[in-house]
C-alpha cells in the first residue's frame, strides 16, 4: 500500500528489458489476449491514466525468468476452485514447460493487459481455453525459432519437452533458460499451431495439481483478512438491520471512548468505526447508539413473502409475467383436468464463505489502492473510482486469493469494497482494512433469491409430457433484461423437447431485499424442480426413473445426457438391491455447459435423510485436471447438501434471523457422504466445474426419499434449520 511495490515492479521490468536485450517494443509482443476494437476502446477507457500493462517478451500471461522458471499470470480469481492450476496447465501444455517449474501469480486489475477480469458462471476454463493455449504455443514457437537459428537447423526437427528444446538429429539441446534472450527477440506468431488433444502430455493427467496446497497447509497463504501494513487501521460498519433502512441519528460518545477507537463517522451505508485493531473496532461498534429510519425499509416476514410469491404466480398481483418459452398452438389454453400439478418453494440462501467479506483500501488524492479477494477486478476498478471520484485507471487492485466466495464477492455493485473505499476516502493516505463479521455477512442480503414454482404437466398417451406450463417467481438478479437466470436449467431442459405445447412464464417482483448470484445461480433451484418432477412423472406412469429419462433424452437428442445416464447407472449399480431402508435417487442436470449426474444412497432416520454415498458422473469436455474436477464435484455436493438439508435465510419484520453458523447450519464432516467421481472422456472444448456439481444433489436426495416414502419434497430445506426462524416454518414437509 505504500509506493514501494509499484516502484519495485518498475525496477523488475527494467531489469527484464535488459536481460532480454531491450527488444520490448510495440504491440506485436502481446500474446494471448488479442484486443479487438471494442475491447481496445474499453481498455483505454478503463485503464486510462493508469500504469502501462506489465509486459514480457512472451505476452501478458507468461513470464520466464533467467533460471528457467515459467510464471503464469492468472487473470481470474482463485476462490478455491483451482483455476490457477487449470490456466497454468493450458499454458504449460502448449509451451511444453516443466510443470514442476511453473508457478502462478495473480494478475492485478488491468483491462488493457488481460481483458475483462470477471470470474463468474464457471466460465474461466472455457473462456481462457484458446487465449492461454495460444499464449503457450506462441512462446514455444519463439523458443523453437531461437534454437533453429542458433543451431542452423530446420524448425520442424526441433522438439520441446519439459522446458528443454532439442534437435534429435544432432543431439543438441538447450533449456528455456539458455535460450531465453534469443527467444525473447523472436517475432511472436499470431496464429500458432496448437496440439491435438491426443498429443497432450500434461492436460488430463493427475500431474495437474494445485500449486497452493503448501502455503494453505502451513497458515502462510495471505487473505485479505491477513493483510498487515504500516499505519493500517481496521474499520467496522454498523448497518441498518432492515433492508432499505436509513440512518436517522447516532451517538458516538461511548464508541469514541473505547480504547483504540480512532474515529467514528457516518457513511452512506451506516456508521463506520475506525480503530487500531479489530477488537477495538468491534467494541466501538457495539458501543454505538443508533436510530434507524425505517419508513422505507422492508418490514415483511418470510411468511408474507411466500404468500406474496404464491399470489404473484396466480396472477393476483400487478407483477406482469414475461414469456421464457412459448411453443405450440394456444399455449395459454386450459389444460385437461387430469394434468399433474407441482408446486415448489425455495428460501433465500446466504453464501457464507469461510472468510467473511473484507477489503483493504487506501485513497490518496486521485490514487486508490485496493487489496481484495474480489472476483470482478475490472468492475471493482469502476466502482471504486466512482466513489473516490477518480478514473478507473488510477485504481490499483491487487487481487489476492479469497477464502471462498460462492458468488458473494462477485456483486456488480461491489458493496463491501465500495464501503471500504468510502471509509478510506474519509481518512486520506491511511490504509483501511474493512472487516465484516459473520453476522454482517449473513444479514447483508445479496442472497440466492427465494422462489416459487408452479408447474402443470399434461401427459400424452405415451406417458410423456405433451403440454407443459411453467410459472417461476423470483426476484431478478440483474437490473435489466429478461431475468433469464430465474429459469436457467428449465428453458433448455431436454424434458421440454417432447412437449408439443409449452407455456413458460417468469414473474420478476422487485423489492428491497438484495439478491445475487449464488453458486450455480438459477440451476440451484431449477434442477430440483425439473429432476424431481421427472421422477414423479416416471413413477406416475409406472416407469423406472432412469428408463423414463433415457426415453426423453433420446427424443431430445441429448446425447451427452444419455452418456452420463448410462455411465452413472453402471457405476452406481442402479437397479441392483440395497439393504432394507435404503434407496437410490437419481438426478442429471446441465449447468453452464457441463452435464452432471448424481445418484445418492439415502435412508431416513427419525425424519432426517442420511446420505451415505454419492456417485457422480460428469461430462465437462476435455478434462484438464481430473483431480480438481473431482475436488469441485466433492465440494459442489457438500455445498448443495448443506442447502438441501438446512439452508434457509428467513426474515421477521424485515430483520434477518439466521446470522451465524448456529442458526444457519452447514454440513460437517460426519454428514458428508462418500463421493465417487467419474469423468466421461471427451474431445470437446472444456467447460467449467466450479458450479455444476451443486444442482443435482438436492433432487437426487428428494428422489430417493420419494422412492422410500412415496411422498414428494415440495420445498427446501428438507429439515428445519436453526432455532430462530422468524417464528415461521418454511413450508416444508416433515419426512415420513
Amino acid at each position: 500500500m505504500t509506493d514501494a511495490p509499484a516502484s519495485k515492479r518498475r525496477f523488475q521490468m527494467t531489469r527484464r528489458k535488459m536481460i532480454l536485450g531491450g527488444t520490448l517494443a510495440g504491440g506485436a509482443l502481446v500474446i494471448g489476449y488479442t484486443a479487438t476494437h471494442p475491447m481496445q476502446a474499453a481498455g483505454a477507457l478503463l485503464s486510462g491514466g493508469g500504469p502501462e500493462p506489465e509486459e514480457s517478451a512472451f505476452g501478458s500471461f507468461i513470464r520466464i525468468s533467467p533460471d528457467g522458471w515459467v510464471t503464469v499470470v492468472n487473470k481470474q480469481q482463485e476462490l478455491g476452485q483451482g483455476i490457477h492450476a487449470g490456466l497454468a496447465a493450458m499454458i504449460a501444455e502448449e509451451l511444453d514447460a516443466d510443470w514442476d517449474r511453473v508457478r502462478v501469480v495473480s494478475a492485478r486489475a488491468n483491462f488493457r493487459a488481460y481483458g475483462p477480469q470477471i470470474t463468474a458462471g464457471s466460465r474461466s476454463v472455457a473462456s481462457n481455453w484458446n487465449p492461454m493455449r495460444n499464449a503457450g504455443a506462441a512462446a514455444r514457437a519463439m523458443f523453437v525459432a531461437a534454437a533453429a537459428m542458433r543451431w542452423s537447423v530446420p524448425r520442424r526437427l526441433i522438439d520441446v519437452r519439459d522446458g528443454v528444446v532439442s534437435h534429435g538429429p544432432s543431439g543438441r539441446s538447450a533449456t528455456f533458460s539458455e535460450l531465453l534472450a534469443d527467444a525473447g527477440r523472436q517475432a511472436t506468431p499470431q496464429t500458432p499451431v496448437l496440439k491435438e488433444a491426443k498429443d497432450y502430455r500434461l492436460i488430463g493427467t493427475d500431474r495437474v495439481r494445485r500449486k497452493d496446497s503448501l502455503p494453505k497447509s502451513i497458515g502462510a497463504q495471505i487473505y485479505t483478512q491477513d493483510v498487515q501494513l504500516p499505519d493500517l487501521l481496521v474499520a467496522m460498519v454498523a448497518h441498518s438491520p432492515r433492508f432499505g433502512g436509513r440512518l436517522a441519528r447516532f451517538d458516538a460518545v461511548a464508541a469514541r471512548s473505547v480504547r483504540g477507537v480512532v474515529d467514528v463517522f457516518a457513511i452512506e451505508t451506516g456508521v463506520a468505526v475506525v480503530a487500531k485493531n479489530t477488537f477495538a473496532a468491534r467494541r466501538g461498534r457495539n458501543a454505538l447508539t443508533i436510530e434507524w429510519d425505517n419508513s422505507e425499509a422492508e418490514k415483511r416476514s418470510t411468511a408474507d413473502l411466500v404468500r406474496y410469491f404464491h399470489d404473484v404466480a396466480a396472477g393476483r398481483t400487478d407483477v406482469e409475467p414475461s414469456d421464457f418459452h412459448s411453443k405450440g398452438e394456444d399455449p395459454e389454453a386450459a389444460f385437461s383436468a387430469d394434468a399433474v400439478e407441482f408446486s415448489f418453494d425455495f428460501p433465500y440462501l446466504a453464501h457464507a464463505p469461510m472468510e467473511t467479506l473484507d477489503c483493504v483500501a487506501r485513497v490518496d488524492g486521485w490514487d486508490v489502492k485496493i487489496i481484495s479477494g474480489s472476483h470482478l477486478a475490472t468492475v471493482d476498478q469502476v466502482q471504486a473510482a466512482r466513489v473516490a471520484l477518480t478514473v478507473p485507471g488510477r485504481v490499483d487492485v491487487d487481487v489476492i486469493p479469497a477464502g471462498g466466495s460462492f458468488g458473494r464477492r462477485g456483486i456488480m455493485g461491489a458493496d463491501y469494497l465500495v464501503e471500504c473505499v468510502r471509509i478510506a476516502k474519509r481518512m486520506p493516505r491511511r490504509p483501511i482494512k474493512l472487516i465484516w463479521t459473520r453476522e454482517d455477512e449473513m444479514s447483508s442480503g445479496f442472497f440466492r433469491p427465494m422462489s416459487h414454482h408452479r408447474v402443470l404437466v399434461e401427459l400424452g398417451k405415451d406417458g410423456f409430457p405433451a403440454r407443459w406450463r411453467h410459472r417461476t417467481v423470483s426476484q431478478p438478479l440483474l437490473p435489466l433484461g429478461p431475468n433469464a437466470q430465474a429459469v436457467e436449467g428449465v428453458a433448455e431442459s431436454p424434458y421440454l423437447a417432447a412437449a408439443k405445447v409449452i407455456d413458460g412464464k417468469i414473474y420478476s417482483p422487485t423489492f428491497s431485499v438484495p439478491v445475487a448470484f449464488w453458486r450455480s445461480v438459477g440451476h440451484s433451484h431449477n434442477a430440483m424442480v425439473m429432476e424431481h418432477i421427472v421422477d414423479q412423472l416416471a413413477r406416475r406412469v409406472g416407469r423406472d426413473p432412469a428408463g423414463y429419462r433415457r426415453a426423453l433424452y433420446r427424443r431430445a437428442g441429448a446425447k451427452r445426457h444419455l452418456a452420463v445416464l448410462h455411465e452413472l447407472c453402471r457405476r452406481a449399480g442402479w437397479g441392483t438391491g440395497l439393504e432394507a431402508g435404503w434407496a437410490r435417487g437419481l438426478a442429471i442436470h446441465e449447468c453452464f455447459g457441463t452435464v452432471v449426474g448424481q445418484i445418492a444412497e439415502v435412508r431416513i432416520d427419525e425424519g432426517r435423510p442420511i446420505v451415505r454415498r454419492v456417485v457422480a458422473v460428469v461430462d465437462c469436455g476435455i478434462a484438464i485436471s481430473p483431480d480438481q474436477i473431482a475436488a469441485q464435484m466433492e465440494g459442489g455436493i457438500g455445498f448443495g447438501l448443506s442447502a438441501a438439508l438446512f439452508g434457509a435465510v428467513t426474515i421477521k419484520d424485515g430483520v434477518v434471523q439466521e446470522t451465524n453458523f448456529d442458526s444457519y447450519p452447514v454440513i460437517r464432516m460426519n454428514e458428508m457422504p462418500s463421493i465417487e467421481t467419474y469423468i466421461l472422456p471427451s474431445t470437446n472444448r472444456p467447460t467449467g466445474m466450479g458450479e455444476p456439481g451443486v444442482p443435482p444433489i438436492a433432487p437426487a436426495i428428494a428422489n430417493a426419499i420419494l422412492a422410500l416414502t412415496g411422498s414428494p419434497t415440495n420445498s427446501l430445506p428438507m429439515l428445519q434449520a436453526g432455532a430462530s426462524n422468524g417464528g415461521f416454518s418454511f413450508p416444508h414437509r416433515t419426512v415420513a
Binding site: 478455491g80 496446497s213 502455503p215 494453505k216 477464502g403 471462498g404 451465524n660 464432516m669
Partner: protein, 156 residues
C-alpha cells in the same frame, strides 16, 4: 493491561484488555495471521489453536485466561504428527480456498497425538467442530488416515 503470553515457544508481552479474545491478540498484536476469524462464536473452528495441547477456539478464549498457558498456533505447530498431517494435506491437495485449513490442521494434529490410529467415527467426532464450506471433508478424513499411517511407520 499488560499480559505475558507464551506463544510458539516464545514469551510475548501484550498490552490489551483482558477480555480481548485470544484470536485478535494473535492476529492483530502478534501478527500470527495463520489463525483465522470465521464466526466469532466457536461454531466454525477456523480459529483453532492448541492451549496446553488441547484444541481450543481462540475466538472465544479471553486473553486473561490464556496468559498462564502454553499456546501453539499453526505457525508453530511442529513434531511428527504435525509434519505428517501437513505432508498428507499437500499430497492429497486437501485445500480449496484454504481458509479453514489452519483450524482443520490444528484439530487433526491434536487428534493424532491423542489417538494415533483414529477410526472414521473418531475422526468425525474430533473434526466436527471445524466447518469447511468448500467441502473438503472427505480429503481431510483420508489425509488424517494417511498421516496416522505415516507416523506409525516412522516410529516402528
Amino acid at each position: 493491561m499488560a499480559y505475558s503470553l507464551w506463544v510458539n515457544g516464545k514469551t510475548h508481552h501484550v498490552d490489551e484488555d483482558g477480555q480481548t479474545p485470544l484470536l485478535w491478540v494473535l492476529r492483530d498484536a502478534l501478527k500470527l495471521t495463520g489463525t483465522k476469524y470465521g464466526c466469532g462464536v466457536a461454531q466454525c473452528g477456523a480459529c483453532t489453536v492448541h492451549i496446553d495441547g488441547q484444541p481450543v477456539r481462540s475466538c472465544s478464549f479471553p486473553l486473561e485466561a490464556a496468559s498462564a498457558a502454553q499456546i501453539v498456533t499453526i505457525e508453530g505447530c511442529d513434531g511428527a504428527e504435525a509434519n505428517a498431517i501437513r505432508n498428507a494435506w499437500v499430497t492429497r491437495d486437501v485445500p480449496q480456498c484454504g481458509f479453514c485449513q489452519s483450524g482443520q490442521i490444528m484439530s487433526a494434529v491434536a487428534l493424532l497425538r491423542a489417538t494415533p490410529a483414529p477410526s472414521d467415527a473418531e475422526i468425525d467426532l474430533a473434526m466436527s467442530g471445524n466447518i469447511c464450506r468448500c467441502g473438503t471433508y472427505n480429503r481431510i478424513r483420508a489425509a488424517i488416515h494417511d498421516a496416522a499411517g505415516q507416523v506409525r511407520s516412522t516410529q516402528s
